[in-house]
Symmetry: C2
Subunit: 345 residues, 2 copies
DNA sequence: CTGAAAGCGCTTACAG
DNA sequence: CTGAAAGCGCTTACAG
């Protein structure tokens, strides 16, 4: 395999300790010696053997704290899988992961997130990957580690001074993809209904914006109904609202669900209505009901962000920073949207 | 981190050497001693530290031979990227990769593949990942290593005794996805044209079969034209044939390209014809021209197999076998088909 | 059947 | 400003 630090040392007529000092820009090396060593390193393309490094690190492993909401839907399960898969890869390489889960309850979740951060502060961690609400107190808590530690926010963004990067989905594009699929299925004309969690949520706003902008760009005969159904991710609300709306509006050609939830309510409503037109449906994410409705044709496509990849990438970013002091090139790393239909599930 | 072999040894009142013998089922351990050691290993969930193992392995690294056709289209570049990304991950863990490329020329490629295998036999490798033609002489060559070495075939399958697994794409499903997209865009009725490399190629046959079967299942008003254009992956042939065919058949609503090639010829032909209908187009794979035509709307969707993932998985499978003697659970690992349109590129 | 010791490549106190 | 030496966890000749 490659050349070793001992060989570099011999070639440069110095000790391995000095080679080490040069590589990591430690003080106390005569500039001319450093230059000589650097030349040889470059010439032989030396890079330290990871197994050797890892072994030494057993004394002092880097620990990464991962903070996640305790939500047992498939989405966060996949995020966790991604995190775990990378942890496993690094488990013997001197990287350890500590998990903190916070209950996500509308009113108290900020408190719970603060508590999770505090727990990690007690344990002592070298970096944090966190899915957090964009809240000032949380940001302050993340900045309050002494010494400062790098923060990677993922899935849902939060700004703080020690943040090195956000990893998430191109939400705007996600809406645009939905619009493209609908325009292709409707042959550029028809009436479209939107179903969202709520019109106040950042993620929903982005998707809907992307949806509307692409739609109006591609055709002037695609009308988005002025009513957007807000279902608060509650299937019963979805059912009630959709039954009422579709009962009164027999001209809908397509529906875009910008949230993973509401499909069960939709299926129930459609089962009770005798709707004349074929309704095309675009869903978001992939949970069991989505799979089922894709299978029976009630949903045409679903657009997925990549929870596994985002979880994995968050940890990788922490590891790269801890082991190579390498910040990611971009402050925002956005994953692509995947399209699923019945045949590529 | 976890417990070490030295600690296990102390707990069992034996040496590390004996612990090692027990773990790897080496001979010369008194059964009762082995039992005692095994109990403790289980109790403490001991598993050997990879960094430690890797360091020792520096003396005797495992080398994996990778045999690929020397084709410089984007597809095999991506396969290579996948292979490289995994190699990098393992480079300091005692796994080395040797590449062999063979010229792919209709007549002599079997000879070239045999030569590539022979080269690896000279060098001496511990496993082979190969993209090969399903040819008996090649199979024999792969089986002729002494001692036998594990073979992973990928992208294109070949049967031989020492093969542990094939990694490739769900080609049949790829055609089914194309059919689903077309049926949704045409609202279940219309005339469809097929463009393939050649009707003799296994991969093309699978895709077309999946396409036709899904189409006929979903609607009886979707007609596949009895002519399938064979373009031999030559853009000029595609251009000539499509210009002629579309000139004489003004009723085509959609085209499915079951090959990555022919889109440039199609674009040229359409530029010269004044075709009345909007033609929906489904492409395969993602090469620069595909990207371009997705952008300008001449292509609606493209269906991609996952060359990067398949390359990566092939190497991972070899590594798992070499380091843990672990065969993959399935003899056939098939990757999903990805759908791309202009907005999720 | 068993174990002491060397060595893989690295980093880190420590001594000078 | 520099280097000798110990030790991270493992495997492998070697000796008994």
């Amino acid at each position: 395999m490659g050349i070793t630090s001992a060989e570099i040392a011999k070639l440069a007529n110095v000790s391995r300790t000095t080679v080490h000092r040069v590589i990591y820009h430690k003080p106390n090396v005569k500039p001319e010696v450093a230059a000589r060593v650097n030349d040889i390193i470059e010439q032989y393309e030396y890079s330290p053997n990871l197994a050797g490094k890892a072994l030494v690190k057993q004394n002092n492993v880097d620990v990464i704290g991962v903070i996640l909401p305790k939500i047992t839907n498939g989405f966060y399960e996949q995020v966790k899988q991604g995190v775990k898969s990378v942890s496993k890869e690094y488990q013997d390489l001197g990287i350890e992961i500590r998990y903190e889960y916070y209950e996500y309850i509308e009113q108290f979740s900020v408190e719970n997130q603060l508590k999770a951060i505090d727990n990690l502060k007690m344990i002592g961690v070298d970096a944090i990957a966190i899915v957090a609400d964009a809240n000032e107190r949380i940001a302050e808590a993340l900045d309050s580690f002494k010494p400062q530690i790098p923060i990677v926010s993922f899935i849902s963004d939060i700004d703080c001074k020690s943040k090195i990067c956000f990893i998430g989905n191109e939400l705007y594009k996600s809406g645009a993809v939905a619009a493209e699929l609908i325009s292709k299925m409707l042959n550029d004309s028809g009436n479209v209904l939107l179903v969202a969690t709520s019109l106040n949520m950042a993620a929903q706003i982005d998707r809907i914006k992307g949806f509307k902008e692409y739609l109006s760009e591609v055709s002037s005969k695609l009308y988005v109904n002025k009513t957007t159904i807000e279902n608060y991710d509650n299937e019963d609300v979805a059912y009630q609202e959709l039954k009422k709306f579709l009962g009164e509006n027999p001209n809908i050609d397509a529906i875009y669900f910008s949230t993973a939830y509401g499909l069960a309510g939709y299926a129930k409503a459609m089962g009770e209505l005798k709707y004349q037109k074929k309704i095309r449906v675009i869903a978001s994410d992939l949970i069991p009901i989505t799979r089922e409705l894709l299978g029976n044709g009630m949903v045409d496509f679903t657009i997925c962000q990549q929870p596994f990849e985002e979880g994995a990438l968050a940890i990788r970013t922490c590891v790269n920073y801890l082991t190579k002091k390498k910040k990611p090139k971009m402050v925002e790393i956005l994953t692509k949207n995947e399209i699923f239909c019945s045949q590529n599930l």
